[in-house]
Amino acid sequence: MDIFAYAFMQNAFIVGVVVGVLCPVVGLFITLRRLSLVADALSHLCLSGVAAALLAGTHPVITASAFAVGGGLLMERLRIAYKDYAELSIAVILSGGVALAAVFMGLAGGFNANFMGYLFGSLMVLNSFDMWIIAGIGIIALFLIFLFYKELFYTTFDEEAAQVSGVPVKALGVGFMVLTALTIAVAMKTVGVLLVSSLMILPVTASLRLAVSFRSALLLSVLFSELSVALGLFISFYLNLPPGGTIILTSIAILITVLLVNKKGKVGK
């Protein structure tokens, strides 16, 4: 059985390559800013976006992107308003996302197979139109990160110095939140809303153990992520397993391997 004989698998691999680069790149900055849970909160808001799309008949990825971007902007406002309690903004958006999803699903008459596909990821829900939207948004997001790479690095390492140096720190924070929201929205079809944040954090966690520079942390994160996506898709196809769960379990296996190989890791030294 040739895996690439199926159009949906071809689409899955193309989307997987884009998501496999985008998730860890955004995830590295999020992790180093100590905002790992932001991805979780925004993914729950994507869930409400998907529920709203299924209710209103709009495109789920586009609607989820709009919800996530709106939530990301609100979270940034809350983070500034409660500067010393940054985690409050995460709790508010996370619970708000789940609550909205529950209400929309109630109005739509409960869960259906399509919604479950978004929850845990399903290759069957990927069509060519989705692929182009996801690849398009993903490539634009990657280009923006490439464009603002040095400013993002500076702000992540030392926000105060970056601000004094003339970097528009607040605008960059808002822009980055929007990018994070879009990343989650485009990745949710591959690994599912509930697991998308893992693909942003797990490869980064493994890379931090081995990295000898920021550049190497970035490259290793992408390598581990792509490896998880490719292996996960192959395994899920041939063993008929859900792709999202398989990709994340592969990522966890890579992390465990790295931890076993490198017992004297750099993190937490």
Partner: protein, 243 residues
Amino acid sequence: MSTVVELCSVFFTYGCHPVLDEVNLQVNSGDVVGITGPNGAGKTTILKLILGQLQPQKGKVNIFGMDSMAFKERFRLGYISQNARFFNKSFPATSREVVASGRVPARGILRRLRKEDYKVVDEALDTVGMLNMSHHMVGNMSGGQQQKILLARALAAKPQLLIMDEPTAGLDVSGRHELYRILSELNSEKGVTLMLVSHDVEEVSPLLTKQVCLDRKLCFCQKKLSDTGKQSNEACSKRLAMV
């Protein structure tokens, strides 16, 4: 001799607690100014006003002849905050990567760093004696080495004015002397104007051309070559008591 920093009748208050009241200060090109004073005297506030991070309720703050809030030529300014040394020690970055971020104001937003930028980065690392550790992870270095890397980052923009808030906090005696030696060379050989904030400028006193004591009001203790730091500090304290 051109004026680098000028504060005219500056008043600043956090809520109903005035921190600075009618403060006037002029820093000229090539000066080494030490600002000292007790906790809560307004030392960091005065720096934040100069850096354009705070706006005075009354008075004017100019830097290189421009209003500090509207000042755009950020590459002329180097700053090391007192919190800079508390960066995430697990951050995966080499000292060269950290120092390269100091080129951001010189190169400008959205422009990628070029070969000549990295040449300046290596020069800055060389100035602080850390070129041989340019590929070491900054989080694994000692406190003194990290402070030198932060100094190199500030120097990477080739600033005309360098502002340091508690630059020697957490450093041992040899670390402090090494830092003062580098600062002295920067001032005498490259003409960089220095502003140092410290609880106690006694040790740095030989470097200073002007010592300022601050406790809401401001008192100048014009440094004489014969003064020791102790004499200078005592003189400042007496003058402050009279304000």
